[in-house]
């Protein structure tokens, strides 16, 4: 243990230093009384030291006497290397490193959890909106299957989606920092508030909706309406979030991604409800919504493609490689889901198929768009 309370590993102990708590600028001055250069009563980097204003912390604190680093940034390591060196002298070859050096914008660090959340959160939002609609229209009589299953889907989607979002954070234990501030300029911050409110309302609606007490049921119904209203931005804010980035494929599609994501979420929300048997009136409502949503999804994709044709390199990101394959798959799945939901007018047994295809199409759409963003950052 050193005098200032940090041990040799650079970790801080929040102990007060013994003795006078002052540090001499020269160690072992032979008894000459040098004035203390800095007063440090606490371990560098500790919250006590910060509170006492002993020095400014940038998270990378150097104990100059021991040449030791402590505090938040002390554990940074070199991380991953850019791979593949070699091909010396062969100008026809490019290395990974060379490509990286020509990249202008960094590709996102997000992994599969994020597009998965886009799909699940959107589905939850649309399901809640449909549930609130059914509640207001008094569909399903006393059974209220559509109302209640919409609420449960919303709650489940929020729960799973939140876990996915937290899992993708670099510091998951700090997830609540999203709600430290309200920052309208940050779509992710706005979305975090929407998600928090939506989750709370969905939980209230799903849990209290089945209550035997009339007052609690009324509370649940109020929460159901709130969840339905917040479900709308839940379906769309992720599109805004991607549009507000510097990734060429997302930024150039900034007017279209919100529309695409809303339509895709609507298709998925209806798809989730199509998996659940209901009364004929409820099934009819879900089906009408599903058909409209899937038609809108296909139209928006076409319009977006046409609009992006002015920027060949961006259009290419949506057409080439894995993003292109997923984009085509998404379109095919959504088209099949549309066909299946239309066919389910006559053949009721096709409902679950239509729902499954709709959900798959929505997930494929989000994966495709996420991929396109990454591939648009690669140097041409």
């Amino acid at each position: 243990m050193s005098e200032d309370g940090s041990d040799s590993s650079g970790r801080n102990k929040s102990t007060n230093s013994p003795g006078t708590g002052t540090r001499s600028s020269v160690a072992g001055t032979g008894g000459a009384a040098t004035p203390p250069d800095i007063v440090m009563k606490h371990a560098p980097g500790s919250w006590q030291a910060l509170a006492a204003g002993e020095f400014v912390s940038d998270g990378r604190n150097v104990d100059t006497r021991r040449a030791e680093l402590s505090g938040e940034g002390a554990d940074l390591d070199a991380g991953d290397r850019v791979g593949d060196r070699g091909h010396l002298g062969d100008p026809s070859q490019t290395t990974v490193a060379e490509e990286a050096s020509k990249r202008v914008v960094k590709a996102s660090r997000w992994t599969w959890e994020v597009p998965a959340y886009f799909a699940i959160g959107g589905m939850a939002g649309a399901a809640a909106a449909l549930s609130a609609g059914a509640q207001l229209a008094k569909l399903g009589g006393t059974d209220r299957r559509m109302v209640q299953s919409g609420r449960v889907i919303a709650l489940g989607g929020t729960a799973v989606g939140s876990v996915l979002l937290v899992a993708d954070l670099g510091r998951p234990e700090r997830f609540w920092h999203m709600l430290r501030v309200f920052r309208p300029s940050s779509p992710m911050n706005v979305g975090s508030w929407v998600l928090a409110g939506f989750g709370t309302a969905s939980a209230g609606a799903a849990v209290l909706g089945r209550s035997r007490s009339r007052q609690l049921r009324f509370l649940g119904d109020t929460a159901g309406i709130a969840a339905g209203l917040l479900g709308l931005p839940m379906a769309g804010y992720t599109g805004v979030l991607l549009g507000a980035t510097a990734q060429p494929a997302w930024w150039h599609a900034r007017r279209w991604l919100p529309r695409l994501f809303v339509a895709s979420a609507a298709s998925a929300g209806a798809g989730a409800l199509e998996l659940i048997p209901m009364s004929p009136a409820e099934e009819r409502a879900v089906r009408t919504f599903a058909i409209g949503a899937r038609a809108a999804d296909l139209v928006v994709v076409k319009a977006m493609t046409r609009d992006l044709a002015d920027h060949p390199e961006v259009a290419d990101a949506y057409e080439a490689g894995r993003a292109g394959r997923r984009m085509k798959a998404a379109e095919a799945l959504t088209a099949c889901a549309l066909a299946a939901s239309v066919a389910s007018i006559k053949v009721r047994a096709l409902r679950p198929l239509a729902g499954t295809l709709g959900l798959a199409g929505s997930l494929a759409t989000r994966l495709a768009v996420t991929d396109a963003g990454a591939s648009s950052t690669q140097p041409v």
Binding site: V56, D58, R60, A74, L76, D77, G79, R81, V82, R85, T94, T95, A97, E98, A100, S101, K102, V105, K106, R109, W110, A129, G133, L136, A137, D168, L169, G170, R171, H177, M178, R180, V181, S185, S186, P187, M188, G191, G236, V240, L241, G243, A244, T245, A246, Q247, W251, R254, P258, R259, V262, A263, A281, E282, R284, A285, T288, F289, G373, T377
Partner: protein, 278 residues
């Protein structure tokens, strides 16, 4: 969108500081890169070669806050003579965070970890950042990055800790040719204009400023770390027209609002179709 500048809690003053990086006098020695690594105690990039350039650092990242890029090419620069038979020029750019006037990372940060300091610089508070990665996709220059094991976003701080002690940032302090000039932003801009005129007088017609003011790069309303380049920005892997994405975010919100209106109407129509009696 303009974030307000906090005043220095001690002196009550606000300063607008910046870097003016004059690549025409950069000799590619990488002293700034090393000084940055040393002062900020950043780990090395690993001992490996690109095999394509004398630069082996490759790019800015979570543990590389200053990067001297080398551009070796078979094109001449006006006023330069080489003893080679073929045309050749070797460009350098001491690159770092640009500390944009309109910073994509800052306005997109959902936690408030990214702040505008009393020096008008952009700073990541590492005790707040939760590693969501929004800033990584929002930076039009590809500067800030999320560290793979630490999990948080890191970038140049313009040596906030040194500024606090009225010191010059480490890279500018170490630069032997004053290619990285640190100072008050207004003075640096005047200095840049003088230097540009000087180069143009000497016939170096390719010389151009990058990000010197709002007119130069309207998408970010100028940069607080701006450059004098000897060719077009894309040669240096810099974006030719960077746009801070929050400046266009309202278009997306409007699109979303329209789509949500359509969706709400869709719900209403669906309920009517469900409610009608057969």
């Amino acid at each position: 969108m303009r974030t307000t500048t906090a005043n220095d809690p001690v002196t009550g003053e606000a300063r607008r500081v910046g870097f003016f990086t004059d690549t025409s006098v950069c000799i590619g020695c990488k002293a700034c890169e090393v000084a940055c690594k040393q002062w900020n105690q950043l780990p090395d990039d690993g001992f490996s070669l690109t095999a394509k350039s004398f630069d082996n650092t490759i790019e800015l990242g979570a543990t590389t806050w200053r990067h001297v890029g080398f551009i070796e090419r078979d094109e001449p620069v006006s006023g330069q003579e080489t003893n080679l038979g073929d045309p050749f020029s070797w460009l350098f750019i001491a690159d770092s965070c640009k500390h944009c006037e309109d910073a994509g990372c800052l306005d997109n940060c959902p936690t408030g970890a990214l702040v505008r300091t009393e020096y008008d610089t952009v700073y990541v508070q590492s005790d707040i950042c939760n590693g969501c990665g929004t800033c990584v996709v929002a930076c039009p220059f590809g500067v800030i990055d999320r560290h793979p094991t630490d999990g948080r976003a890191w970038k140049c701080t313009m040596c906030y800790d040194r500024l606090k002690d009225d010191e010059t940032p480490a890279c500018a302090q170490a630069c032997p040719t004053e290619a990285i000039a640190f100072g008050e932003l207004d003075e640096l801009r005047q200095r840049a204009d003088v230097r540009l005129a000087e180069l143009h007088d000497r016939g170096v017609t390719e010389a151009q400023l990058y990000g010197a003011d709002d007119d130069n790069l309207p998408g970010t309303r100028g940069l607080h770390a701006f450059y004098l380049l000897l060719d077009s920005p894309d040669v240096y892997s810099l974006p030719t027209n960077p746009v801070a994405p929050q400046n266009t975010v309202n278009e997306s919100w409007k699109s979303m609002a329209g789509a949500l209106g359509a969706m709400a109407a869709g719900v209403a129509v669906a309920m009517l179709s469900g409610g009608r009696t057969r």
